[in-house]
Amino acid sequence: MSVAEDILLSAWVTGLLALTTTAVLLLVSPPLAWWIAQTRSRWRPLVEAFVALPLVLPPTVLGFYLLLALAPGGPFGAIAQALGGAPLAFTFTGLVIGSIIYSLPFVTGPLSAAYRTTDGQLLEAAASLGASPTTRFLRLVLPLHRKALVAAGVLGFAHTVGEFGIVLMIGGNIPGETRVLSIALFDRVEMLDYAGAHAIAALLLAFAVIVLTFTYRWLRT
């Protein structure tokens, strides 16, 4: 496989992984972030801690536990097999699950910070107009903080593109299936193919700079 083919295929896997992960996170994170922002439950700190774990743990730790869970003998792997699927370790699906967990704080954190600033007077006004908690969330909180949602989505996408440790542990290195750009870069360096490594590294760097610049510029408008 030529370097160009390798980059293209890895970029495709990376992009697909980041898109899938972001799509799932954009469904999961807003309700979770809203719950964290306004609940008075005593379980909130624990939930927040679990969401924030990927921020502080080495990705390899998460990857190790995920590997055990997704392997044929692990609980999730067993469930997947019982449902007639293949074990999840070293598959694209397994990679998506790992990425969701790994990028969760990067989407949920900024969202709950934004949701915490919601004007309580507006929520009261909405309730006085007969809007249920769900309606208040869907029709008031979500659109009021739509910029934060887009920013969180971009951050989640970019972060998934940049992940390495978890993929290394649970994804392996199957071209077209689990070989993402960061792994391809690592491989090239190991093979002392510095030209190929340069191409991939520059691509990832340019992507990060461009995405972040445009996001921050858009947030100001």
Binding site: S128, L129, G130, L140
Partner: protein, 365 residues
């Protein structure tokens, strides 16, 4: 509608509200009282924004929350109560139309007005496409008012909703609101700091003072109670109920009967059904202890002084005339020279009256 709010609400060490209300709300109940007396807190209790307060709230026998916290409080969005806040609280991401449509989605029970009707009467058509930040303060409040009218409700709570409006828009909207309240049988609790406003709209008056809301008065009783917080207003004066007798076309005067005495009021009031409410500012009432025949003042009513309170450099004298009372603001020197004291027989000379026509405002209780 029967409204009950009984119990105690505390917020921090400095705020405590004792509510002891068990009243029939019909028409407009004005809620008056100094700032911090607990007026807004009472409205929040009824709306459901204080679900943890140890206050029993019941509407028409339906318990919304219990002082002993048995059962869970009915959440605010299920209470058929619409609130107009002091601030407009429009949703900034929606146009005026979006704000109005937000209100129409609820399926809770209650009276719900037609979108087109509300837009027409509040003159919202030109504003529909605009966002809140593009509207003036008065326009914003007009949209907020319309938004509340569009959500189903059995009771409307108005927390000084006119304070952001200019006098012209106020005059334009107030009769409409009152009319609505009558036609749709949705009672209103209306927080007000303005005595003229209370005199113009109220059927009954609730007084909040020193952290408790208890007293419930008819408008005539409220207007002659000497201890309420709005009494120092220039417009202070009795509201009295009179009966129409005849109209004298020669002079353009209607003759009314008040406490067996004739009262002459400009204009033809023959079309007003039921009692006619008159507001008689205390500053326009003089007192005499002797009969006066040759005087340009037409309206003279005999009565008996029943209370005198000092009011700055002047004194407020309450004169009982049959079942009702008048208020007169006189100098303290006059009190001494006429030797006014409770029990003194006096003649009240009335220089001006303002008719609160009941025709456009609906029947009085």
């Amino acid at each position: 509608m029967r409204l009950k709010a009984q119990g105690e609400l505390t917020r921090g060490p400095d705020f405590r509200l004792l509510a002891d209300l068990d009243v029939d709300v019909d028409g407009v109940a004005a809620l008056v009282g100094a700032s911090g007396a607990g007026k807004s807190s009472l409205l929040r209790l009824i709306s459901g924004f204080e679900p943890h307060a140890t206050v029993t709230v019941e509407v028409d026998g339906e318990r919304w929350q219990a002082a002993d916290r048995t059962g869970s409080a009915v959440p605010a969005h299920r209470r058929a109560v619409g609130t107009v806040f002091q601030e407009s609280r429009l949703f900034p991401h929606c146009t005026a139309r979006g704000n109005l449509e937000f209100a129409g989605r609820s399926r809770r029970p209650g009276v719900k007005l037609a979108f087109d009707e509300v837009v027409h009467v509040l003159d919202l058509e030109p504003l529909l496409g605009q966002y809140p930040h593009e509207l003036s303060g008065g326009q914003r409040q007009r949209v907020a008012l319309g938004r509340t009218l569009l959500a189903p409700a059995k009771l409307w709570l108005f927390d000084e909703p006119m304070s952001a409006l200019d006098p012209a828009s106020r005059r334009e909207i107030a009769p409409y609101l009152y009319d609505l309240c009558r036609r749709h049988a949705v009672p209103i609790v209306y927080v007000s700091h303005s005595l003229p406003e209370v005199l113009a709209i109220a059927d009954q008056v609730w007084i909040a003072s020193a952290g408790s809301v208890t007293a419930v008065d008819s408008l005539p009783a409220f207007s002659t109670a000497l201890d309420h917080p709005l009494m120092s207003d220039d417009q202070a004066g009795a509201v009295i109920a009179c009966r129409f007798k005849s109209f004298d076309a020669r002079y353009g005067l209607s003759e009314l009967v008040f406490a067996d005495a004739p009262l002459f009021v400009p204009g033809d009031l023959s079309a007003v059904g039921g009692p006619i409410l008159l507001h008689i500012p205390a500053r326009d009432v003089s007192l005499s202890t002797t009969a006066i025949d040759q005087v340009s003042i037409l309206n003279r009513v005999a009565g008996t002084v029943d209370a005198i309170v000092q009011d700055g450099e002047a004194a407020l004298v309450r004169v009982g005339c049959g079942e009702q009372s008048l208020l007169a603001r006189v100098t303290r020197r006059s009190v001494d020279e006429l030797r006014l004291e409770p029990g003194t027989r006096v003649l009240a000379l009335i220089k001006s009256v303002a008719v609160r026509t009941t025709a456009e405002l609906g029947p009085q209780p």
